[in-house]
Symmetry: C2
Subunit: 366 residues, 2 copies
């Protein structure tokens, strides 16, 4: 008999400089991302690592949640019964939880448990998570609202040269005419057959979003992402119904209840959960199940090194986002492309192994 | 000219033992509460203190949010423009926010700014917050699900002897018959004219809540609080419409958006925001304004030493809860009753001054 009880939990926070300052319409300039890792060991000697990340704020609070509220609660629990551990964590910190910091902390712990499960069972994540495929469509998402038009087009040529065959840019300039100019220039550069998305990071109100969606309609977008605040579920439906534009969101929904509201009310065309903030692998798979019931493709936000496995595994797989916060550069296996598809790792566990020395070298505590 | 820029911010965490172990239907046994204080000083020498509290989990994360994410962001900002500071904080930590830990942290900072404002202007909180009255109806809420029936009735006799003229008990026992027995015994004890509420701490599903509400109907309850999870906005409406029972909730709603959903969908009879987790004084006043538009009385959860001022000030004042987490015992002015009403302090500022020596003596870092 193996003893699958949790024996040790260790959390670490890394603050990693971005290779360049990135700007979107709502969060301003990003200079760093924060990575919080959780390494769990079970009594029979298996060890797994999970993680979450932020745009630069909240990392210390996530670390504190894991160290002070989750770790003491998880020690001694059965790491093999992940659903039970997940639900127990949810209720343990519910009063200060229901999304936000605690969702990020739970996500990191949950991913560590799935890493252990895969290593124990000798199975890669894409098999554990559904097994529909080991590869998925992928697009490169730029965080590029501050780029000049020339820099924007240069960056996209770089993405195409790197093997990406679909791209997303930020929109949400103060002047819609400037957004339109950028969308038009990018469409001209990539030609009519390259899938193309835009993302406003919820900078617009509903009337502004409707005007933008109408203006973007000639450019054959796959989707218009987060045109307005995700909490305005009914507002999304109004934008979709008024303009016919396919809409996407999900990175700012952190609880299964919020996803339920979005599926029921928002008339989305794509859903984009992020396992780093919606409850880890367990949370992502619960959203994926809801997306099948709703008849929507499930995509992902950020963390491409993990999401490639989770998206590929779904029968209703949408698109994996290859994000500019390139956590995968600090792993032993950065995202792999083949014929424009992202390839899931076949190694047992989550498939994400950190290059700890590289991470420590990049860490900027300032 | 006064210089109202924020010059210094100091946060502290206290873990305070409860006088006895308290149990409700969903959170299990409480042994401590956590108090996080934030003291802000402006360049012209005014100083104010805000605070938030938890049921024992999350305090370290709230402290980390204030120290690492809010304090550096707030330094140098204008403490006199509280609405602007509030909205700036909301967007600064939005990606890891929208409720949860960050709402608690923002709440503490916001209350400190109102304390400064009142001290600068020489006005008590009840005047700044609306000024309708300086006293409010109050009830004593027990956390007593673990009490034997005898202990329960003894505790209520103690509340009445202390001057309270309205009381609330916990329900949500595994066996509804036991809840009914307790409700019936309490009603018999307090007589037909004493206002009486019950609180299930969302332990029930909707069918269970409907059965309980029907069973409680003969006992003339003022409200049935949190019969089911607050996120199930439509479920509340179903319970209210099926049974006619007046419903209350709010302590688990942390964003103005969540309150909007509740007002629109839940058929509530009372709303119970908690300034410690819904955005401080600013957040509470925004909810109070929505409650007037919705035609509902605004009540409060916990933190009676502060909420007495906020509830009394509203033209649609409901009930102040006098909570068993008696933070007010660690202040220089515990809750004052007169003829069954709670009396708001007339001192400039929030009216809450901590007895720091008593707090430090009670602090249990274990």
């Amino acid at each position: 008999m193996t003893d699958t009880r949790i024996e040790d939990i260790r959390a670490q926070l890394f603050r990693v400089p971005l290779r360049q300052v990135m700007t979107d319409a709502k969060h301003g300039a990003h200079t760093h991302f924060e990575l919080v890792t959780v390494t769990i060991r079970t009594a029979d000697g298996h060890e797994g690592t999970g993680y979450t990340y932020t745009g630069g704020k909240g990392g210390h609070a996530i670390l504190a949640t894991i160290e002070h509220d989750l770790a003491p609660f998880l020690l001694g629990r059965d790491a093999a019964d992940i659903d039970a551990v997940y639900d127990a964590m949810w209720w343990h910190i519910h009063y200060v939880g229901r999304g936000g910091i605690t969702s990020f902390a739970m996500s990191a712990a949950d991913i560590a448990l799935w890493d252990i499960k895969g290593k124990r069972e000798g199975r890669p994540l894409w098999q554990m998570a559904g097994g529909a495929s080991s590869s998925a469509r992928v697009y490169r998402g730029g965080i590029d609202l501050n780029y000049t038009l020339t820099e924007l087009l240069d960056s996209i040529e770089g993405y195409l040269a790197a093997g990406f065959t679909a791209i997303k840019i930020k929109v949400g300039k103060a002047d819609l005419a400037e957004d339109i100019e950028r969308v038009e220039a990018v469409r001209r550069l990539i030609g009519p057959n390259t899938p193309f998305m835009v993302d406003a990071n919820y900078a617009l109100d509903v009337p502004q979003a409707i005007a933008a969606a109408k203006a973007f309609n000639p450019f054959d977008l796959v989707w218009f992402e987060e045109p307005t605040i995700p909490d305005n579920y009914a507002g999304y439906a109004e934008i979709a119904e008024t303009t016919g534009m396919p809409l996407a969101m999900g990175e700012n929904l952190h609880t299964i209840l919020e996803f339920e509201y979005a599926f029921a009310q928002s008339r989305l065309s794509f859903i984009q959960p992020d396992a780093s903030n919606c409850g880890g692998v367990t949370g992502f798979l619960r959203v994926a199940e809801l997306s099948r019931q709703a008849g929507l493709p499930v995509c992902s936000h950020g963390m491409q090194e993990l999401h490639v496995s989770l998206v590929a595994a779904q029968s209703n797989a949408g698109w994996v986002e290859a994000h500019s916060f390139d956590i995968d550069q600090y792993t032993t296996r950065p995202l792999q492309l083949r014929d424009g598809l992202a390839i899931a790792p076949d190694t047992p566990g989550s498939g994400v192994e950190f290059d700890w020395a590289k991470l420590r070298a990049a860490h900027d505590p300032a």
